[in-house]
Amino acid sequence: MKYELVSGFETHVELATATKIFCGCTTAFGGEPNTHCCPVCTGQPGALPVLNKKAVEFAIRAGLATHCEINTVTHLDRKNYCYPDLPKAYQISQFDKPLCEHGYVELESGKKIRILRIHIEEDAGKLVHERGFTLIDYNRGGVPLIEIVSEPDISSPEEAREYVEKLQLIMRYIGVSDCKMQEGSMRCDVNISLRPEGSEKLGTRTEIKNMNSIAHIEKAMRYEYGRQAEILSGGGKVEQATMRFDETTGETSVMRTKEDAQDYRYFPEPDILTVNIPQSEVDRIKNSLPELPLEKLRRYIDVLHLNAQNARLIYKYKAACDWFEEAVAAGASPKNTLNLIVGTVFSRLDTEEDKEKFDVGISGAQAAELIKLLDGGKINATLAQMTLAKMLETGDGVEKFISAEDMRGMDDGELTRLCKEAIAANPQAVADYKAGKEKAIFALYGYLKRATQGKADVQKATEIIKSLI
């Protein structure tokens, strides 16, 4: 029998607020253990939480960007469980009235992965096992999180990858999280069940906890699919369980079964009164949302008629898109601007992080001054690339590198003279060309480029060279 995969995700995203969710401590990653702490986030007796308004705002932002409805009257709840990384023995979270509900994340195919709810909560500390001791670092304790719970709408590891990537993109776009899975600022619990193809009824699910890389998610899902399929086709029953994924073996194993499921004894947090959010505040947040990534990509391709492959390279990086749009707004053509970003600017940005930041030294508007020359045929693409590189290097404007004389280009007589020189200096290449090696002509371009500092119009030069040989 063929089985269909049914998967829903619970995704924890750390919010990029400057301070923790219930106290004024910094949320900065790293730091000496237990230095980003105070009586509140270490659960000292008598300390009380004060809800960080920015965290609520960021969560609403995340909700609106995923098309959720916002519960403007809500409250927080205590989730009680005992673990050394949780200093109060309860996590302040939300249970029956999440801040955001009923949204979706759209995939490129147009399929919508529905979002059941998004709620706010605090992160726990971290246990470090060292030389037979367990040490606790509460720096992360109290960092604001949102938990994004999807409906079981994901039907393959590929869709799971896209869902997570799209979520990452959206959260980065709207500035609520950097979603770095390797640093733990985004983590996924993956729920998986199988059902016979065509069946409507959901099977028994397992939950793989704490996945911290997309590659692992795909691997774990494939493994778990295989494991469950084997049980089912052998006539067995999948037991509801929480699983862990072993990165080294690539296998999942049972952490605990339903019988040992914890009773969290949720009840409303008495230290934080009802949270009332004025509709005007929700509207303000809504109006401040940027164009979302998928909308942007579609506009780049459908409205600006950009090359789809290049558009995909840039739309992931919000700052790069902003730079692109600034240049276009200043009059540069979208096509040339995008080509220069992909060809010249990106080659200087090595890491994803650099591309994310897109801290390139000149503004999009400054670049537009150069690109407009290219658009108008005043300079050629090679010169544009070389000049842009210099501008990025120095942070100086275009006027520093291109003179009126440069822009005039080269008259035909001068170009013909240089072509003759090139032919004379490269007899072997000329012979090869004549023998049918089309590419041999490139050697002549190289000569021209050097002699003219890139100003030569390659197309025109080709015509001249061909006529001369």
Binding site: Q44, G46, A47, L48, V50, N80
Partner: protein, 483 residues
């Protein structure tokens, strides 16, 4: 009733006595009397000397607060930076917070002098202060009797003049009932009027800090110094601007007597309260008999909500970060279990289990949720009562101070002694307890004046009438600091 704070304040500001000298008097009184009273469980004389030196400087500069230089005490569940704060529990043995409760921060800024931390029921759970790990305090008016609880040590210290005033906490009557048992004044402000930051939580939605004093006038002065919104406590609220003005005029004051408070009440207590009400009536107050049926349900609602919150609030005492840790254990889980089993007393364990039970899935709706629904209906009924009445008058407790070690028929009987005080906490209301007579054994009887939320001033003024009228003058307990 004698206004100790105002008298001392006059002596201090006229420089007839320095705060340092006054503090020494209190210290020697405590040294001689505390061994039999056991009101203080930690003395902080070093801190007191520092505080009094600072106060004397402030007094010299002039314009100081009426509390400047006056020695006082805090209940052992109010956090004090670098000073023991143990909730009279083994599980917090040796615990010294590294932060001050907002109330202590405010009082310190006024020039208050901290003599020590006072005895209480473990984690404020009890009505006699006998669940304290340090043993029970004795009632200064009769050493064989309990002080009441849970703020029993504070009431005893004030009653015996071992402190000019005390701060207690009141979750279900823990300020008012010991005040009644010891024959002093205990004031529980409106929920939210005084910051809870630094008050070690028992039932977070019910807990409130308030003063225990020798007079209503003193209560108002202390209340004014500690009240107001605190950015560290989201449940705190702004209170009236300016100081509380006490007016003894009760003409036209509408006093409600709810039948439910008096049904089946001990006759001695009933007549003491009714005699007091007659004095109000004589002075022009309007007395009306009313009924608030949901009062009958207040006790179970209280024990469900308070225990539910406590079971969560006390989860943090696991031996990992502070306080007591079991000596030997085989794993982290084992350490937590052993620490809690050894560190918490019986009553606390009982309430944690009760609270865990009412919150657990399958029982949540039947207990906790139902209690919350009844809480709302009690609040609605109280609100409508305050639509017709300005204040309610009721007994503080259905009994006077128990004999020490009294266990009664069962635990329920002890829980029933809170029946008059818990509705106030469930409603978040302000209420004051003051003496209104004595029983046949010479033990003080307390009466309660209850107001609508944020009508703390009205409650204090109504009580001030009794003070001005000398409704009940109890003899001074000897051996303390006398003026």
């Amino acid at each position: 009733m004698k206004s100790v704070i105002s008298s001392l304040s006059r002596l201090l500001s006229s420089r007839e006595i320095s705060s340092a000298e006054l503090t020494d008097k209190y210290i020697s009184a405590i040294e001689s009397r505390n061994p039999e009273l056991n009101a203080y469980v930690h003395t902080t004389f070093e801190e007191a000397k520092k505080n009094s030196a600072a106060a004397d400087k402030m007094l010299k500069e002039g314009g100081a607060s009426p509390l400047c230089g006056i020695p006082m005490t805090l209940k052992d569940n109010i956090a004090t930076d670098g000073l023991p704060t143990t909730c009279c529990s083994k599980i917090l043995q040796g615990f010294k917070p590294y932060y001050d409760a907002t109330v202590w921060r405010k009082l310190k800024a006024c020039g208050a002098v901290l003599l020590g931390k006072t005895n209480m029921d473990e984690f404020a759970m009890g009505s006699t202060s006998e669940t304290s790990v340090y043993g029970a305090p004795s009632n200064p008016r009769n050493l064989q009797r309990v002080t009441g609880g849970s703020s029993g040590g504070g009431a005893a210290a004030v009653c015996a003049n071992l402190a000019a005033y005390a701060l207690g906490s009141d979750t279900g009557g823990s300020i008012r009932q010991p005040a009644a048992f010891c024959g002093v004044v205990g004031f529980k402000p409106t929920y939210g009027a005084v910051s809870r930051y630094g008050l070690i939580a028992y039932g977070s939605s019910l807990d409130q800090i308030g003063p225990i004093t020798n007079s209503v006038t003193d209560a108002a002065v202390v209340y004014d110094a500690i009240r107001g919104e605190d950015e560290k406590d989201m449940t705190s609220c702004p209170t009236e601007k300016g100081k509380t003005i006490l007016t003894p005029d009760v003409k036209g004051l509408k006093i409600g007597l709810a039948d439910e408070f008096f049904d089946g009440l001990d006759t001695e207590i009933k007549s003491a309260v009714e005699n007091a009400v007659k004095k109000y009536e004589k002075a022009g107050a309007q007395v009306m008999r009313i009924s608030i049926p949901a009062l009958k349900l207040a006790l179970p609602v209280y024990y469900i909500i308070a225990c539910a919150e406590a079971s969560s609030n006390l989860g943090r005492y696991d031996g990992i970060r502070y306080g007591y840790r079991a000596q030997s254990y085989s794993s982290v889980d084992d350490m937590v279990v052993k620490t809690r089993t050894q560190g918490f007393g019986k009553e606390v364990q009982k309430r944690i289990m009760l609270g865990t039970y009412v919150l657990s899935s399958g029982y949540f709706d039947a207990y906790y949720k139902k209690a919350c629904i009844i809480r709302e209906s009690l609040r609605a009924q109280l609100k409508s009562a305050f639509g017709t009445c300005d204040v309610l008058i009721a007994p503080t407790a259905p009994n006077t101070a128990f004999v020490k070690g009294y266990t009664g028929g069962n635990a329920i009987e002890m829980y029933l002694s809170d029946v008059c005080t818990v509705p106030v906490n469930i409603g978040g209301l302000p209420a004051i307890s003051l003496p209104c007579g004595k029983d046949k054994n010479g033990l003080p009887i307390g009466m309660q004046i209850i107001g609508d939320v944020f009508e703390d001033g009205k409650v204090l003024s109504a009580a001030y009438f009794a003070e001005e009228e000398k409704l009940c003058e109890l003899e001074e307990v000897q051996g303390g600091v006398s003026l």
